[in-house]
């Protein structure tokens, strides 16, 4: 024993790590490994990181972008694959992993397959039917939360509630959200909340329920893929918002829930509005009220003015005034028409006078003719037979008269 002790070789951590690295990497420089993919993540850089697992063990694996560029199918959790690559040791973390060069699919992974089968079964039963989904109330006053009191989800939710309008009552039903028994606890918690709700007065009813947990591996989230949880959500009379893990995680609970929130924080944001938004809404509403009332007042005023106008038109004084205006108007018209008529007649009269004066015998006299009257009877002498010698006659000229005595009468001429 003593000899052995003196011979013992003491490694430094780095030395032994180096030796392990050499042994590991030399022994497994080209290996084929079969397993089921879990915790798959594709980095923005293009590298894939995932775990390969079977019933007993887990092997972390990495596939760099240059290797996965030509991959024909999508790597998904639950997928059974055969990988070719080498084992690589990472000393600083005492870790080893498989650097994958090639991947071949191997059927569908059993977990994923089971999930697909359950999905199909529940879908056939109508658990995912859109018509079964209930509306989520806009401003719930009472919110129930089914999650772990120790988890990240409840903290995230309460943080959001604090940040926002927080006139809410929150009822937490704390449950295990992963591991053995989680599925039953979650399902019972949902049922318990529903039966508790029955004991409350209608005004006190729970408005909405958030069921979920924070992010984790697909195994961590598995309880939310269980049939018993799906059925509990489906049977819940309280509308359910699922909030499981992160945006990319879709569970069966999400499919059954009335609304799926990508994360617990978002679930809280969906049911608890921002204080500022509510304030704005309030302001809009009271502005709306004021505007509407002003409009009504304006309309009433116009109506009043119109009525006043109508009344004043029906006022007898106004009527008399109107009649007076009308009669004045008529009088004016009569005057104008008469005047016109008179002027017309006057013109006609003048024309006639002119005509008359051109026909007057006096007019003829001015041209040299004369008229001879018998004296004293004043008859106009048109025939010499009317006269005998010695008669007195008067001759009217254009200007003046001549008195004469007839000295001779000739019968013809």
């Amino acid at each position: 024993m003593n000899e052995k002790l003196t011979e013992r070789r003491i490694f430094t951590v780095s030395e032994i790590t180096q030796d392990i690295k050499i042994i590991l990497e030399n022994s497994f420089a080209e290996v084929w490994v079969e397993g089921e993919v879990s915790n798959f993540s594709a980095q923005p850089s293009g590298h894939f990181y995932f775990s390969l697992k079977d019933q007993l063990s887990v092997l972390d694996a990495a596939m760099f972008s240059r290797a996965n560029r030509d991959l024909k199918f999508k790597i998904e959790n639950g997928l059974k694959i055969i990988c070719f690559g080498k084992i690589s040791n990472y000393g600083p973390r005492s870790k080893y992993n498989l650097i994958v060069e090639k991947i071949e699919p191997k059927g569908i992974g059993s977990l994923q397959l089971a999930l697909e089968q359950l999905k199909q079964k529940l879908e056939k039963e109508g658990l995912f039917a859109p018509e079964h989904k209930r509306p989520i109330p806009y401003l719930p006053a009472k919110i129930a939360i089914v999650t772990s009191l120790q988890g990240a989800a409840i903290k995230d939710i309460l943080k959001v509630v604090d940040r926002r309008f927080s006139e809410v009552e929150i009822i937490i039903n704390s449950v295990q959200v992963q591991g053995e028994g989680a599925k039953d606890e979650i399902a019972w918690a949902i049922a318990d909340l529903n039966s508790f709700n029955e004991t409350l007065a209608p005004r006190e009813h729970i408005d909405v329920m958030i069921v979920g947990r924070g992010g984790g591996s697909i195994e961590d989230l598995w309880a939310f893929n269980e049939e018993i949880v799906a059925r509990a959500i489906y049977q819940s009379k309280i509308p359910v918002i699922s909030a499981v893990g992160h945006e990319r995680d879709w569970t069966i609970a999400d499919l059954v829930a009335d609304l799926r929130a990508p994360t617990p924080s978002v679930a809280a944001e969906l049911v608890v509005p921002k204080k500022e938004d509510l304030k704005e809404k309030l302001e809009d509403l009271s502005l709306g009220i004021k505007r509407a009332v002003l409009e009504i007042l304006k309309t009433s005023k116009v109506l009043l003015e119109n009525t006043q106008k109508k009344i004043s038109l029906l006022n007898p004084v106004t009527l008399i005034q109107q009649h007076k205006i009308r009669s004045d108007d008529l009088g004016k018209q009569i005057y104008m028409r008469t005047l016109h008529f008179v002027r017309l007649r006057e013109t006609e009269f003048r024309a006639t006078i002119e005509k008359l004066s051109s026909l007057s015998p006096l007019g003829i006299l001015s041209r040299g003719y004369s008229i001879t009257f018998k004296i004293p009877d004043g008859l106009i002498i048109k025939d010499s037979k009317m006269i005998k010698t010695g008669d007195r006659i008067k001759t009217k000229l254009h200007k003046g008269e001549i008195f004469s005595q007839v000295t001779e009468v000739k019968q013809n001429g």
């Binding site: 401003l139 006053a141 009271s286 009220i289």
Partner: protein, 78 residues
């Protein structure tokens, strides 16, 4: 008025605006609604400023009955 839920108050306000905008109200009715609406919006504003949350835990007591136990929020934050 004090026990009205915030959501109900908001719905009532919306209804009042609709009614007023509908223009079917008499002037007296409109003014009454106006008063009610302004009062409601004042109340809602107060509620917004003084909002308090309440957190309970749903638990089973010894008899197996469900009951609410108030919870200290700091416990959640731990």
């Amino acid at each position: 008025m004090a026990e009205i839920k915030f959501e109900e108050a908001l719905k009532k306000l919306e209804k009042i605006v609709d009614d007023l905008e509908g223009g079917e109200l008499t002037l007296d009715e409109a003014l009454k609604k106006y008063q009610e609406g302004i009062e409601l919006s004042r109340l809602c504003g107060q509620r917004l400023d003084n909002a308090k949350k309440k957190i309970d835990l749903l638990m089973k007591n010894k008899k197996g009955e469900l009951e609410l136990k108030p919870i200290d929020e700091t416990k959640v934050e731990e």
